[in-house]
């Protein structure tokens, strides 16, 4: 029944290897790195042009940041307002504390509909709760309808970006996947032909499958409406043709009023795809007689989110509107692509969101997957200070790991603790400098450079030389100069 690949792997933070290790296969795959760099360089250039054109960009960011912060501070009030209004408009609101509960609610709804198939609008939240494999195992065929998601689903691939999930796959790889899975001979690798193939492949599904699943870009508390931002029209198909629509939304997605979209829509497309506005944004409110699905369910998902609200630093994470500007700007992501993050949320936002969604029990390497260059914060349309959150999470990771006995002998931990002791007294620091000068002498070549170091130092010297220590430190020079002057 299903068109999913037989062994569709799942990005699961609980199972993923640590980031430095997970990044290796990509770093050794020049084609993949080229695909990723090309895609994000294109988006970055388009975004930069449009942001420069928008003279009130910073004011929009300020407004969006304050609005999202206000919502999160008052999330309970806005969520219940949304629930009341959505229910009054004919929608049915469900609440799910975790992924398992959300999956079960959705499966139960589909069973009530006697659904054997479901069409889906791209939703990272459904990937977060690993919905597709669950439904497939329960005998319900899932059909992704976004072009990138079709590529991934048919190819048995995993998303590597939240807006352009298949950006790591190039045209010839898409051609191969489509030719094999759609059974089309003589398919060219022209993106236009590939897009046309996807269009005709899905057309019948849109017209016949009676149940659909979507995510939500925004929930409007004032009206109980849901907004979806998309490009292809697959979203509009799923939102209008089926008889039943199920929307899965994180609890943080709410905005106070309809008018607030005037801020978010101006920021989102420009940040996400470098367009002034995405081709289609749809808004609907409960059930409208004669227009679109006549049964409508919203599943509000917590799954770790409410616990992130307690402190201002971490709370910022939930301001995110999933534009992916941070990953497009990130020099680390540009090298590693998305899979290394071991989560459906890659890049800088993933590095702070994933560990918190896992209650800091998994993905502890992610807060370190950043050089703290600040490019993510600079582009974030809702001003999430990602470096600040990264530092907070690093601190939490260190506090966890300090308690583990094995860490005492870890060279990095040991080094940092010794360094702290050394820095606490100038005479100790100066003694350490002298010892290092002597210690490193045997590694220093005639040209004054160190070409290879043992242990942690090898991580440095495998791609960089290190200048040998000069014979006189600055403070020694200063002291000698003072003596002379006297």
């Amino acid at each position: 029944m299903s068109h999913a690949a037989p062994t569709h792997p799942v990005l699961d933070p609980a199972l993923a290897p640590p980031f430095p290790q997970a990044a290796l296969p990509v770093l050794r795959n020049p084609q993949l790195r080229k695909n990723v760099a090309h895609a994000i360089d294109v988006i970055q250039a388009k975004r930069a042009r449009l942001v420069t054109e928008k003279t009130d960009w910073q004011e929009l960011r300020t407004a969006a940041s304050a609005m999202r912060a206000h919502v999160l501070e008052n999330l309970g009030a806005y969520l219940t307002e949304f629930e009341t209004k959505c229910t009054a408009a004919g929608g049915i609101v469900h609440w799910a504390t975790d992924a398992a509960e959300a999956r079960q609610i959705i499966l139960d709804l589909l069973r009530k509909e006697n659904a054997s198939e479901v069409i889906k609008i791209k939703t990272m939240t459904s990937a977060e709760i690993q919905l597709n494999p669950f439904l497939e195992a329960a005998g319900i065929g899932t059909y992704e309808t976004d072009l990138a998601e079709i590529i991934l689903q048919l190819g048995g691939e995993e998303p590597s970006h939240i807006v352009v999930p298949a950006l790591h796959v190039n045209r010839s790889q898409v051609r191969e996947i489509f030719a094999r899975r759609m059974g089309i001979k003589d398919l060219s690798d022209d993106p236009e032909a590939l897009t046309a193939a996807a269009r005709s492949y899905l057309r019948q599904k849109f017209l016949t499958v009676p149940t659909a699943i979507s995510g939500a870009n925004f929930l409007i508390a004032e009206t109980g409406s849901v907004a979806i931002v998309e490009s292809e029209g697959n979203g509009r198909m799923c939102l209008t043709l089926p008889r039943t629509m199920i929307t899965l939304a994180g609890i943080e997605k709410v905005l106070p009023r309809y008018q607030d979209l005037e801020v978010m829509l101006q920021l989102l497309a420009r940040s996400a795809t470098g367009e002034r506005m995405n081709p289609y944004t749809s808004l609907w409110t409960g059930v409208t007689p004669g227009d679109g699905p006549q049964r409508f369910h919203v599943v509000l998902l917590d799954n770790g989110r409410s616990s992130m609200l307690a402190r201002e630093v971490e709370r910022q994470t939930l301001k995110c509107i999933r534009c992916a500007a941070c990953m497009n700007a990130c020099p680390v992501y540009r090298q590693t692509g998305g899979h290394a993050y071991g989560s459906v949320y890659p890049g800088p936002i993933g590095a702070i969101l994933t560990p918190q969604l896992m209650h800091m029990h998994h993905a502890q390497s992610l807060p370190y997957a950043s050089s703290l260059c600040g490019a993510c914060y600079e582009v974030c349309p809702v001003k999430i200070n990602i470096p600040e959150v990264l530092l907070e999470l690093r601190h939490q990771v260190v506090d966890q790991e300090r308690k583990r006995a094995g860490r005492i002998f870890d060279p990095m931990y040991l080094g940092l603790r010794i360094a702290n002791l050394i820095f606490s007294r100038a005479w100790l620091f100066h003694a350490a400098q002298r010892m290092a000068r002597i210690g490193l002498r045997c590694f220093t070549r005639k040209d004054g450079w160190i070409h290879s170091l043992p242990s942690v130092g090898a991580k440095w010297t495998q791609t960089r030389d290190l200048r040998g220590l000069p014979s006189q430190t600055f403070h020694e020079w200063w002291a000698a100069r003072r003596k002379e002057a006297r």
Binding site: P20, A23, L24, L27, R33, P331, V332, R334, Q335, T336, P367, Y368, A369, S370, S371, L372, C373, G374, A375, Y377, E378, E388, L391, R394, H395, Q396, V397, V398, M412, L416, R417, A419, N420, F423, S424, A426, F429, Q433, A436, D447, G448, W449, H451, K459, W460, Q462, T463, R464, D465, L466, R467, L469, P470, Q472, T473, F474, H475, E476, W477, W478
Partner: protein, 250 residues
């Protein structure tokens, strides 16, 4: 004008020529410099690795050492960013009221070198002579944390004999990131390779910056790959004159 020089731990140990250049430059401009013998580290390495308690103890030391200074000048943008962006949080969480007050009083007197020249001394032409082709790497902390803006450019524009070449992708990180360069050594190296391509494409003789940590990373790769280019802290270029050219480490 009196200024206390916070040289930073890695400049003291690895790049004393940068410190000597700052001294030559500022004394030439009539600044009365002092150097506190008790100084060690600002705590950035610990803070950025998640060792908050340790970072706090360094931060506290910094405030105690410099609370009486007229001004503090620091030739390292990332250390200044540490003081400006991270000390307040550390003191809120771990400090007491008197420490917070002392720090609040001290902070406006802490300057990165180019800030000190432009904002405090109001000088752009420092009388430098450096007859070389140079490209400038705008370190992330200088660019996005300190918002140095055109300060370095205004200073470089006045250096006689120097040909300044624009570095492509100026706002992209070189991949150093402190302990990131070791914890995520392979990723850091991949970022470095990209940056190095851009730097080499300028065909400059020197790559300069206001932060020796990026330069240590870049220079190490240049040396390994015989890139035929050297790194030099901007302080050394600004200190350089016809009579006393910059000290350059081969």
């Amino acid at each position: 004008m009196r200024a206390s020089l916070f040289i930073t731990c890695y400049n003291d140990t690895l790049f004393p020529e940068t410190g000597r250049a700052v001294v030559a430059l500022l004394e030439r401009l009539g600044v009365e410099l002092s150097f506190h013998a008790g100084q060690t580290c600002c705590g950035q390495m610990h803070a950025n690795t998640g060792f908050r308690g340790e970072a706090f103890s360094q931060a506290k030391r910094f405030v105690h050492l410099y609370r009486d200074a007229e001004t503090v000048v620091i030739p390292s943008s990332s250390c200044v960013a540490m003081i400006r962006d991270q000390y307040p949080g550390l003191f809120d969480e771990l400090g007491n009221e008197s420490l917070r007050k002392e720090f609040a009083a001290l902070l406006p007197r802490v300057y990165e070198l180019s800030e000190f020249l432009i904002d405090r001394l109001a000088v752009e032409d420092v009388g430098a002579y450096f007859p070389h082709r140079v490209t400038y790497h705008a370190s992330c902390h200088g660019l996005r944390a300190l918002h140095l803006g055109d300060r370095p450019w205004r200073l470089m524009a006045q250096v006689r004999g120097m040909e300044l070449v624009q570095l492509p992708n100026l706002d992209r990180c070189c991949g150093f990131g402190g302990t990131f360069s070791v914890k995520n050594g392979e990723v850091s190296s991949a970022m470095l390779a990209v940056k190095l391509q851009d730097v080499v494409s300028t065909k400059a003789e020197y790559c300069t910056a206001l932060d020796n940590s990026c330069l240590m990373h870049l220079g190490g790769a240049m040396h390994l790959q015989y890139a035929g280019m050297k790194t030099i802290h901007l302080a050394q270029i600004l200190a350089s004159t016809e009579a006393s050219p910059a000290e350059v480490t081969e």
